[in-house]
């Protein structure tokens, strides 16, 4: 045992040394492949880009805004709004007495004082009767008036925040609690359900009431001074936004209250002093437990939990999302270089001599990949440091980078020319960027967002804690998928495939077939007519089961993507499409390797062999599918769509044990039956395979409908 471990250690050390050697030379080659002019141009481009960003940052820091002094506004130095206008960079105050509308001023602030109240020459707030902003009847005049209005609002907000007496500044405290979309099939018009309409979530209700209070306070403040657009409309809009926040996108109580409360702020405010829990219900974050929706309005969102409703931003992690996207940008450049390097080995058989060295293909590929993986790690770490991400961001991006490289490797192994490689890399880039970015948009809305590791980055940037289960759920499929992609590509990293001009589909089948062992009728090795537990026979069928099991991460990713894509559609449309799509994905995953086996002559074309490999494949898929129980850990199956995609007998606790056992094994029967049917077609040829695959898909979809109905 010790000797064996020692030998293994030595072998690994040798392999590691070889990988490092190839990596070293690959780095030298890659750097040698870029001529000095290109390098200089790249550096210059980076410097220019960096300079632009630097100048932008510097001007921002120094207050050198590009929109400085755009509008001239006439205002008395003694006016209470003079300070607000002076603080706004885009406004340039000019003395009101010399200001002439349309000539020396775009807008004029006219302060109407009560008669006899300014005997001392200074205009105190109590002296003000009203303030009127007059602007030229031009677009610029309208814009100037709007800017004045915004400047005053911002000024008031600042004054309130600076007020030591918080109660006086914000007499109504609003606590917002966002509820995750975890409702079922019958509770909403969209796949995630709609909180506002049916559940009438108490948390949402309380928030909206509170918003009204906030609106009242805010509206009152604004309404005091300006008459340009009316305090009512301001209050309305504020109330709307607050309502929208609280209702989580619904058109529930909040909006309605906000609208009605706009005109009579004090009343509404008085009536809105509700405790979030006063409704008697539990809030989403308290009650659901599984998926912790972050508190909205954290620092990363640019708003505090305290403030007027206008300062509360909706649950869209815009800034974090943009910053998270920065991680994906370098990947696109990296895969171009990596894909070119791999294809370069294949062009004109340049890599043939490497195959004659004592190195294994895996060592060559690892060595060639290592510099790019290292570059990805370095760049990711640097970006994380710059944008304020932590180790979680790096851990989350690592599988994304690995998948970018893995998919590019496979693409470069399958592509026949650099032209094809271009399509491959663009395809990889678009697909993976979509997969990583789009779900992350819903970071604060639904657990579906955790499909993408980028969501973890967003959480990290927001300072939110995530559970190990969430990290596993987000990263494992891509990490395993990347590993399998490399495995798939390695299958054709051999002379016979590397330098041939086979179509992509044939190479794909080759890559699958090379992982299979021969299965034939009769006794002997790999024969299905011999002893039941013949070792060779089990090994051959085991390779079938294992290969099918390896497709699980891709199936998982494809199904998650389908869920994410169909998430926003009405249930009536998305559910049927999803059920069929998922059935198709799984049936293809289970049978395509069998088709490859028959096409490449690994399997003997007989019904007996077809059934044997069909059963093996279905069983392998069933076992691997059970490993996806991780979805339960993050509460995805509580989503109706998640249940349709991933749950089988979840939520059937009321049934007797025998029924539960039967239902537990029902998917096994399904997979074995459907795959055997497809296998029988695959052994007869392409057309028969297409036909049986369709039948298997329909049967599988019908089963899915049954599961959804039971659930």
């Amino acid at each position: 045992m010790t000797d064996r471990l020692r030998r293994l250690g030595r072998r690994l050390a040798v392999a590691g040394r070889r990988v490092l050697r190839v990596a070293k030379w690959e780095s030298a080659r890659a750097s040698g492949g870029v001529d000095r002019r290109t390098l200089a141009a790249g550096v210059a481009l980076l410097l220019v880009a960096g300079g632009v960003v630097g100048v932008g940052v510097a001007t921002g820091v120094a207050g050198l805004d590009v929109d400085q002094d755009v509008y001239r506004v006439g205002v008395d130095a003694g006016s209470p709004y003079a300070e607000a206008i002076e603080e706004e960079a885009s406004l340039r105050p000019v003395p009101a007495e010399t200001a002439s509308l349309g000539d020396s001023a775009d807008a004029v602030v006219v302060t109407v004082v009560r008669p006899g109240s300014v005997d001392d020459g200074a205009i105190d707030p109590p002296d003000v009767d009203s303030v009127v902003v007059r602007a030229t009847d031009t677009r610029k005049g309208e814009a100037a008036a709007a800017s004045v209005r915004e400047a005053v609002e911002a000024h008031n907000e600042r004054l309130l925040r600076a007020e030591p007496n918080r109660t006086a500044a914000f007499p109504v405290t609003v606590t917002l609690r966002y509820v995750g979309r975890t409702t079922g099939f019958d509770d909403g018009a969209t796949l995630g359900g709609s909180d506002g309409s049916r559940t009438g979530d108490p948390g949402g209700g309380s928030a909206s009431d509170g918003d009204d209070g906030g609106t009242a306070a805010d509206g009152g403040t604004e309404g005091d001074g300006t008459e340009t657009s009316g305090s009512g409309s301001d209050a309305d809009s504020a109330g709307d936004s607050g309502g929208a926040d609280s209702g989580d996108g619904s058109s529930g109580d909040a909006s309605t209250d906000g609208e009605s409360g706009g005109g009579s702020a004090p009343d509404s405010g008085a009536g809105g002093t509700a405790d979030p829990g006063s409704g008697g219900g539990k809030t989403g974050s308290d009650g659901e437990g599984g998926f912790a929706i972050p508190s909205i309005g954290g620092g990363a969102f640019g708003a505090d939990t305290t403030g007027s409703p206008a300062s509360i931003t909706p649950p869209f992690p815009f800034t974090s999302l943009l910053l998270a996207f920065a991680f994906l940008v370098p990947m696109n450049f990296l895969i171009q270089a990596y894909g070119s390097s791999i294809l370069d080995e294949r062009t004109n058989r340049r890599g043939e001599p490497l195959l004659v060295t004592p190195l294994a293909p895996a060592e060559i590929v690892a060595g060639k990949t290592l510099p790019y993986a290292a570059a990805a790690a370095v760049v990711t770490t640097l970006i994380a440091l710059v944008i304020g991400g932590g180790p979680l961001s790096v851990v989350a991006v690592a599988p994304v980078a690995a998948t970018f490289l893995g998919a590019t490797f496979v693409g470069a192994m399958f592509a026949r020319s650099f032209k094809e490689l271009t399509f491959v890399t663009v395809g990889v880039s678009v697909l993976l960027t979509t997969y990583a970015f789009v779900p992350a948009i819903f970071t604060n809305v639904t657990p579906v967002a955790l499909v993408s590791p980028l969501t973890l980055v967003v959480f990290d940037l927001q300072g939110e804690a995530v559970s190990a289960g969430q990290v596993l759920f987000s990263t494992a499929p891509m990490a395993v998928g990347a590993t399998l992609l490399f495995g798939l590509g390695l299958g054709v990293y051999r002379e016979e495939d590397m330098f041939s001009q086979k179509p992509v589909t044939r190479k794909f089948l080759d890559a699958l077939a090379v992982r299979l062992s021969a299965v034939r009728t009769g006794g002997g090795p790999g024969g299905v007519g011999g002893a039941l537990f013949d070792r060779e026979r089990l090994r051959a069928l085991g390779s079938v089961a294992f290969l099918t099991a390896c497709t699980i991460p891709f199936v998982f990713v494809a199904e998650l993507l389908a869920v994410a894509v169909l998430f926003a559609l009405p249930v009536t449309v998305s559910i049927p499409v999803l059920l069929v799509t998922i059935a198709f994905i799984e049936e293809v995953a289970k049978s395509v390797a069998l088709y490859a086996g028959f096409e490449r002559g690994v399997f003997e074309r007989s019904d007996r062999v077809a059934l044997a490999v069909g059963v093996a494949s279905g069983t392998g898929f069933f076992l691997a599918e059970k490993a996806t129980a991780v979805v339960q850990a993050v509460g995805l199956t509580e989503l109706f769509l998640g249940r349709a995609a991933f749950a089988d007998v979840a939520g059937l606790s009321g049934l007797p044990p025998i029924a539960l056992v039967a239902l537990f094994f029902a998917p096994l029967v399904l997979h074995v039956t459907a795959t055997s049917a497809a296998s029988l077609g695959a052994r007869r040829g392409r057309t028969a395979y297409a036909l049986t695959l369709t039948l298997a898909t329909l049967g599988h979809a019908a089963y899915n409908v049954g599961v959804v109905s039971l659930g």
């Binding site: 050697r21 195959l355 004592p358 002379e495 016979e496």
Partner: protein, 343 residues
Amino acid sequence: MIEVSGLRKTYGDFAAVVDSDFSVDDGEGFGIVGPNGAGKTTTLKVIAGLVEPTDGEVTVAGFDASDPEMRRHLGFLPEDSPLYEEMTARSYLRFFADLYDVPREVADERIEAALDRLELDHRERRLGDVSKGMKRKVAIARSLVNDPDVLVYDEPASGLDPVTTNSVLAFTRELRETGKTVVFSAHNLYHVESVCDRVVVMNEGRIVARGSVDGIRERHGETTYRVFTDVEPTATPPLDDLDATPEEVGDRYRTAVPSMDAVAAVREAAADAGGEVVDIRSREPSLEDVFLDIVGRPMPGRYTGDGLDDGEVDGQEPDGPENDRSTDGAERETAATATEATE
């Protein structure tokens, strides 16, 4: 050193090599000749462990051909010499020496020795900027960085100019003389003859002839002599028996005969006509001749040039470069004076 037994390699329905058996002794030069698509390259790739045989066994230096350890004993030169063009010759060779775990000092010594012998200049120039012949030499040097026991060379002189061809063949001969086993493929017998003791002739995946080059020539081809006279030789019984009909070529007459005895007969006939022999040329059987004799039809892709004057055949050589013409037995004509012919 090399044992090939029952080798079969198929690609789908296409059989690239069928039932191939041969063995190569330690230190022997062994040639595989045949037209394009004969299965030469596939055979060599199976020996090099690049291609997995569909059936049969191949061992090299006591290792199965698929054993990675075998590759430490092997130097392989593929038909083409695509190199990493952004690297220099020296760095490229060091890279491969590194992969074979050759210590740096030893590697440098071997590399410099090989490059010196191959007269390769511009060792620090990027390989993308050097000539085809230079690249070939670098590729040959690469096959030697691990000091292998077995050299498997696929068309080592293919596509090179005559000078480089001779240089490469001479170097290969030297390698053999140092005790290395050399297996190499070629399109023409001359290349093989200069390096190898034994050859196999392949056609459509099968070995159709085997033996020494001379033996194959003797069995499957004939040396012919063309005798040029200044007058038309008189028809004499010996010439009539040989069915040797003089042809008028310019201001001379040419008579093709199969032996030196027949040359003497032509000489006598010319003297009878009042003239003399002015030139004699011998023509050895080419691979095409051998192939035609064995298979009963011309080599695929080759034009035998029926109706053309001897020495002008082989108008089409899809992969037989122009220098072949100067060295292949089909075109190699040895000028001999009348005196030499009579000796």
